[in-house]
């Protein structure tokens, strides 16, 4: 694996930023969305550079885990560990509702997606 050059100029191995932890506190889906208030961003300043970058990406706009990884240029697995920590620490708010399971609810969601597409 190629080491990654992080914005501070140091060569770091991907999981160095999580101190080697590879298991997230909770398994956040790729498309799960998270956001951060200005207050939370201010708090994240004291939580380390990588968490602060994540907080900044989510300020004022809900972003999926996939978007956070893309904007911060961190591998998905690393991002997931950090994001799950931040949710536990109150630095990020996880908005994602569990996908509906009942027939009516699933049809309803598909119907909303369909009309959303047609309106584009």
């Amino acid at each position: 694996m190629e080491p990654r050059r992080d914005p501070r100029g140091a060569l770091v191995r991907p999981y160095a930023v999580t101190r080697g932890r590879t298991e997230p506190l909770q398994n956040i889906a790729l498309e799960a969305v998270l956001s951060c208030t200005p207050t939370q961003v201010a708090e994240a300043r004291f939580a380390g550079h990588d968490k602060y970058r994540i907080a900044s990406v989510c300020e004022g706009r809900a972003q999926s885990l996939a978007e956070i990884a893309a904007y911060t240029r961190m591998p998905l697995g690393v991002t997931r560990v950090l994001v799950a920590d931040m949710v536990a620490e109150g630095l990020l708010t996880l908005h994602t509702a569990a996908p509906p399971e009942g027939f009516e609810e699933r049809m309803n969601l598909l119907g909303r997606v369909l009309s959303g597409l047609r309106e584009l």
């Binding site: 904007y71 509702a97 699933r106 597409l117």
Partner: protein, 207 residues
């Protein structure tokens, strides 16, 4: 419209947002990123996951000495439909050795579109088999390239042994209206499938 403008009073209260997703699959160069970009409100993004070839989901190679590791790039786009509804489009690499990644991508997905290029039609076999096995609703979209040999849709259906109930459409991944039609077809097909399964008494959520 931006759902993430905050009222500071409710700052930490979690508002629920549903993320729906549609998967776009197909071989290398078939037009996946082009399709996502034609309709996404953001320029398609890429995220890279480090993977072991063994597909055990451990992406720190120091934990699995001797195992080949690879970086898998996924392209994706976003359509914010309402304050509480976002549609994500995930373009997935078509190569077989990356499939362990797909289980995560398709979990909870509305459905999928398999893009086909008539110059490399056999690239579609792998994703078609995969979605068929996972019982994920999918449609097939023939992406017409200018210099590609022309085939009728039914010839393609036969060549790829696409079941008769799977929608097969022609598209141009560069054009928004065409892409919109492909996605509408995916969602309509997913609704029909869900209705049929419900009628038979087998609700089968994917993943």
């Amino acid at each position: 419209m931006d759902f993430a403008n905050y009222d500071p009073a409710g700052a930490r209260r979690s508002r629920e947002i549903i993320s729906a997703k549609i998967v776009v699959a197909g071989g290398f160069g078939v037009g996946k990123t082009t399709l996502v970009g034609a309709i996404s409100e953001i320029t398609p993004l890429t995220t890279e996951a480090l993977m072991t070839a063994a597909g055990v989901g451990i992406d720190d190679p120091s934990k699995v000495p001797g195992k080949e590791t690879t970086t898998v790039a996924m392209d994706f786009g976003r359509i914010t439909m309402a304050q509480d509804l976002i549609l994500y489009l995930f373009g997935t690499p078509g190569q077989t050795r990356f499939w362990f990644m797909w289980d995560e991508i398709i979990r909870g997905a509305v459905g999928a579109a398999v893009l086909v290029d008539t110059r490399r039609i056999t690239d579609a076999f792998a994703p078609l088999d995969y979605f068929e096995n996972r019982n994920l609703p999918y449609v097939v979209a023939l992406n017409r390239f200018d210099d590609a040999p022309h085939y009728e849709l039914e010839e393609v259906r036969e060549a790829l042994a696409i079941p008769p109930d799977v929608p097969l459409v022609s598209c141009d991944a560069r054009h928004r209206e065409s892409v919109k039609q492909v996605l509408v077809t995916v969602v309509e097909h997913a609704m029909l499938r869900l209705q049929a399964e419900h009628g038979r008494g087998f609700p089968t959520p994917v993943g």
